[in-house]
Amino acid sequence: MKHATEEQLVLYYYGEQADEIQRHLESCEACRGSYQALQRVLNSVDSFPVPERGADYETRVWREVERRLPRRRALAWLAWKPLAAAAALGGLMAVAFFAGRSWRESGAKASAAADLEVRERVLMVAVGDHLERTQTVLAELANSGDPKNGALDISYEQRAAEDLVEANRLYRETAASAGDDRTANFLDELERVLLDVAHNPSQVSPGQLQDLRQEIEGRGILFKVKIFSSEVEEREAAQNAPVL
């Protein structure tokens, strides 16, 4: 066997091509010397220190993560199915509407304001979940690496965006009919970006990806989603909405 290449020695260090190189090193002093030099360097890399974490580290991480996880609600099972969630919202809004009306008709002193409040609670819970899902999809695209081999497969994001467009439309219409113009206008802007994603080919070129990123970043849509999500959370908290 000729002398081992540096690449072979590196693989050997990491436990690959072990038998062949092992035999060679036993009989070749030059390669043994090269390998020992490589060993010294790579062993010294192990000196790179990682700060120790405390004994309760895992518990501490879980506490922080749990606090930031999307809140689990009765609607959580619909989390992966945005259109189903939107359709369910329609049902809930109708139930809320008729429940409020029959209550009033039965003689209780309820006002139209209370009726509106119930509907707004339902809408806020649903829109909060919708924005979380939208943010995930758009952030994936905005942060995706440069396309390998000239194209990037965005078929997953595209399908997700198609579902989100449909759900978004229903939420927007619901918000408009509930008189919540601010939410309706914001969802209108979001819908345009989601439509752009949904209408792209499933394999995008670097130029198309750049355009998409510009669409997302140029409109500052991720930032707006974040801000609006916080507002939704605050509105939910202010209303002290009961779990659905």
């Binding site: 990491y14 030099a37 360097v41 990682v50 700060p51 993560v65 996880l69 995930t136 690496g145």
Partner: protein, 199 residues
């Protein structure tokens, strides 16, 4: 101690429970992998606070994308991929803003050496040498490309196979291998004179 195989199996079970709506099952995954994710993040970013951010963000992203994980692949490899990519984004953002990722830890290490010298702990020459090696390692890792650093950290520190690294980076096996070779060459050039001066 749990074997890698049985851990992967129980990871799959935990993921299935989360998907079925058992939110507490996610705690098992977070607690099982958080320390390893921190180590990976620190080796990628060289900064303690950034690494804590990576740990948090990795588990949040993983939760939101859990439907994308396929049981035929390893959960930990998939999780490391998320952590590695986020670490790299963080490093890239810092570089874009002109910050030097290792500044804080290099400074801390310098202070450590001063303390060690003052307390007459293991030979001061040895400590100073060790500190110089650590700083050189950190600086060289900082100088690697994103791909080289990820491939090298996953291979050298995490013991991942070439195939797993290729999967994590979306590369062919050969490309992943060459990223590791290039990283090792750069480390050799930077460290060999120093290391050999002590041998």
């Amino acid at each position: 101690m749990q074997s890698k195989g049985s851990m992967e199996e129980s990871d799959s079970v935990a993921v299935a429970r989360v998907r079925a709506g058992d939110g507490n099952a996610y705690r098992v995954l977070v607690e099982r992998h958080s320390r390893a994710v921190f180590r990976l993040a620190y080796r990628m970013t060289g900064n303690e606070q950034d690494s804590e951010d990576v740990v948090q963000e990795t588990f949040l992203r993983a939760y939101k994308q859990l439907h994308r994980w396929e049981a035929r692949s390893s959960f930990s490899t998939w999780l490391y991929r998320i952590a590695a990519n986020y670490s790299l984004d963080l490093v890239r953002r810092r570089q874009r803003h002109g910050e030097v990722a290792m500044t804080e830890s290099a400074g801390e290490r310098e202070t450590d050496v001063v303390h060690a010298l003052a307390s007459h702990a293991p030979g001061p020459d040895r400590l100073l040498f060790s500190d110089r090696v650590q700083q050189r390692v950190a600086a060289t890792l900082d100088g690697l490309s994103r791909q080289e650093r990820t491939a090298f950290v996953l291979r050298h520190f995490e013991g991942q196979s070439i195939e797993e690294i290729a999967g994590a980076l979306g590369l062919s096996g050969n490309a992943a291998k060459h990223s590791i070779f290039r990283a090792v060459q750069k480390l050799r050039r930077a460290l060999e004179p120093l290391v050999n001066s002590q041998s």
